[in-house]
Amino acid sequence: MSEATVDVFDPRRVKRLAGRHRVWSTFAGNKVALVALGVYGVFVFLAIFAPWLGAHPNDVDASAFLKGPSADHLLGTDQLGRDVLSRLIAGCRVDLVAVLEALGIAAGIGIPVGLFSGYVGGWVDVAVARVADAVLAFPSLILAIGIVGILGPGLTQAMVAVGVVLTPRFFRVARSCALAAAREGFVEAAIADGCTTRRILFRYVLPEASGPVLVQTTYSIGYVIAAEASLGFLGLGVRPPQASWGSMIAQGFAVVRQSSYLVIPPSLVVIVAVSAAFLLGDGLRDAIHSSTSRRQ
Amino acid sequence: MLARTAGEGAPLLQGSDEALLRVEGLTVDFGGVRVVDDVSFELMRGRTLGLVGESGSGKSVTARAILGLVATGGRIAAGSVHFQNRDLVRATRHELREIRGRDIAMIFQEPRRALDPSFKIGTQIAAVARRHLGLGKAQAWKHATQLLSEMRIPQAALRMHDYPHQFSGGMCQRVMLAMALVASPKVLIADEPTTALDVSVQARILELIREIQVERDLSVLFISHDLGVIAEMCDEVAVMYAGHLVERAAVESIFGHPRHPYTQALLDSLPQRGVGRFHQIRGTIPMPGEWPSGCRFAPRCDFAEPRCSAPERVALVEAADRHLARCVRTAELDLEGVE
């Protein structure tokens, strides 16, 4: 009964919408972050529409081995005669899938467990937090490689590993938001109204956590791309002949004495992608902090 | 009584008394905003000059500017600070570093924060001794211990090995005093030394400062917003308001017969002034950048008239013998002062 009245006019919702507007306007003022967002827009577009863009990552042009940029091949060819630009675009797609898989696991497990643990508190929270601490004690890439060793090579397996490594970070962010939210007045009111824990978590606690979680997600995207590149470089990620930026760097490095050029395009693309993710994360974090500080 | 317009930098006292420190027309800007405006005063040998004002009046900035310690973003725009035949404003950084701590020393409002938490207090005091007296480590330590016990800190030798967080506020101030006096300076600048301390501790520190002054023939520039403390400690008083010096005279004249409404208002708001007469000055002090033209106190002044805001700047005039006031109406007003 009280739930209906809460939905009709919710002062929290008004406050949240006003806050959201402030976040947006602060963010929109940050030019660097906007550029980073634009860069990601391009990546996502390329990733989704790759097949229709005429990219041919696996076609061999027998007339052009290890050539530099030309009219036919805008970014040159690799040692097997494949078009570099096409392979970079195909790599976008691989990374999109990678990010979705890894973050799907990390956020899909980390956020609900974190919210629940932070909200419930007590020994449950202590125990779960300890588990997260233990996972964080392993150096990230070493743990990821270990898991890939167990599961076997392949993109999905590698991303499961990366996802596991990232889960504690999402857990911590969600947990600290839940800890703060549990003390808020409207949560106590909801409890008094008799809402179920699940409802409270979804309707009231989760929105409070959305900001920091979004920031963590953005930083994690950068991390996943870097990890995928590292694993790909080592040959533990995508299987050949599929193109990924990391494996392209490895292939370029293999022939570095013959051609200094080949490693450059994929390296630059990885640097741009990771930097853009971090800059975007910084912009979001600043925007969110400015809105929360002004709320008081 | 004729009100003669005295030159802005005219010395208050001519004659045999020696002026150790002479500040003339000191002006300090912070990023283009004026914070201290044309302040002049003298510190006589063996005497205490009090610099009074609310927070925002510019008194602390003035004190620091004397030693060239203006915070980042600030600069001394005009004026001079004469000390020992030198103008400190034009001194080199090297010269200033020689003078600081050795000839002119300063103690601060929050003594705990002015001490480095990572080093023993003994090390910190001894460091000043080594710097300015050229003493070796052991000698400097002994000298520092000696000073610490002079500041009435019990078991000085043991306490030299303690860290600042192990001292109370009052004791930290004694430590600061020891550090200030270790090189036997001639001038002590005390920037609100007791404001952050308990009332009971306050009295003892003030007493200590008075004793030191007599023992060492020290000249003290005492900065405070507390008129009660000023009355106790000072021979001469200068009142600051909104970057300006608005009144300057001997302590008896200031308290007995003030010539500026702001001084009167400050006296009125002293809690001792009888029960039921708790009088707060209405309005607030204008911040740097918001100073009105004409008399800056006019908006809050009980005696203000339109002509007070007329001139671009109100001049500092000699309202009485050796008594300067920056008030358009000073000749007409008869302010009652306090006992």
């Binding site: 300890r130 601490d133 233990a134 004690a137 392993f138 150096p139 990230s140 890439l141 070493i142 743990l143 490689i145 270990g146 890939v148 060793g149 167990i150 599961l151 090579p153 950068g222 870097a226 590149a229 590292s230 470089f233 040959g235 533990l236 760097i249 490095f253 570095v256 200094s260 490693v263 390296s267 640097i271 990771v274 930097s275 971090f278 | 030693l67 310690l69 915070a71 200033l96 020689e98 600081r100 701590g101 020393a105 300063m106 601060f108 929050e110 924060r113 002015a114 001490l115 480095d116 938490p117 990572s118 080093f119 460091a127 000043v128 710097r131 300015h132 967080h165 600061m176 550090m179 200030a180």
Partner: protein
């Protein structure tokens, strides 16, 4: 202070147990039959059965875990499925190599961060500061192996100043040892150097603004004493904590960098164990790595009060 230290040491025990458990569980998490994978594609059925017996894979999980802990306490990390050599030996042979690399990398990182960070702090908001801070921001985003690749490209291939790959043992001479570590060390250090630079800068800026630094200036203490002695000691404590946390990241990056430069260290070992699906070796590697990181964190925590006297009581 002693009591707090003991408490801190004791607090890692539950986490340590969990870490050991997680290393153990890797084996159980293997999709398919662990014994079959260990035996490899050429393993016969008898071989597989033998392995299963040796590793007690038939016993209940709890018993296996107990045995596992017992073995570890005795320093027995099992035997490599591929080479048959004891895991402990393989790891300990590889560690000095990686330690050399990490040492060189940390030195580079410290040197770069201290000079860059302090310079940026002293020349706050000038172009010097902006260049340094900007470089650090970019440096954070470049994965270590890419730095390595570019360094090899420029320095080894184009300029031929330093060897591109390989590792020389210290016993072969100091310069060969060092020259092989310069490029990989530099590559490894860049991300840490970037993070440390930002941290050193902010810690210094923070300290320089403190009242006690102003007070020291008021007493005529020279700039060198103030910045070098006082400010440094106060800024050091927070920098130390961040420094201690770099070890985990360096170990991770070392995996790829060692692979890139063909350095036979712990990172390469980790990589090979994964490629070969050598489960006992993977378990050993993962456990030792985590243990080492926990040790470094512990040391950093214990060292903190030494630099910050306020925490001593």
């Amino acid at each position: 202070m002693l009591r707090a230290s003991v408490r801190r040491i004791v607090s890692i025990v539950p986490t340590l147990v969990l870490v050991v458990f997680m290393s153990f569980i890797l084996q159980a998490a293997t999709p398919g039959d662990a014994a079959r994978i260990i035996a490899g594609p050429l393993g016969s059925e008898t071989e597989i059965a033998r392995i299963r017996d040796e590793l007690d894979l038939n016993k209940p999980l709890v018993v296996q875990f107990g045995d596992y802990i017992w073995r570890i306490v005795h320093g027995n990390l099992g035997v490599s499925a591929l080479t048959g050599i004891r895991v402990t030996k393989t790891i300990f042979d590889a560690i000095p190599v990686t330690m050399s690399l990490v040492l060189v990398a940390l030195s580079f990182a410290l040197i770069l961060a201290l000079t860059g960070g302090v310079l940026a702090a002293l020349r706050r908001n000038t172009w010097v500061d902006r260049v340094i801070t900007g470089t650090a921001a970019v440096g954070l985003a470049v994965p270590a192996f890419i730095t390595g690749v570019l360094l090899v490209l420029v320095v080894a291939v184009q300029l031929r100043w330093l060897p591109a790959t390989g590792y020389a043992y210290l016993s072969d001479g100091f310069w060969p040892w060092l020259s092989h570590l310069i490029l990989p060390g530099l590559a490894l250090s860049l991300v840490s150097a970037s993070e440390l630079t930002r941290f050193v800068r902010s810690s210094f800026v923070d300290t320089l603004d403190r009242d006690y630094i102003r007070a020291a200036e008021a007493y005529g203490l020279s700039a060198l004493t103030v910045v070098g002695g006082r400010a440094a000691k106060n800024a050091a404590a927070p920098v130390l904590t961040v420094f201690g946390l770099q070890v985990g990241r360096l170990l991770s990056s070392a995996v790829v960098v060692e692979g890139l430069f063909s350095i036979p260290g712990f990172g390469t070992l980790a990589f090979q164990s994964a490629i070969n699906r050598d489960i006992p070796l993977i378990q050993g590697v993962v456990l030792v790595a985590a243990g080492f990181v926990m040790l470094m964190n512990l040391l950093t925590d214990l060292l903190y009060p030494v630099l910050n006297p306020r925490l001593r009581d």
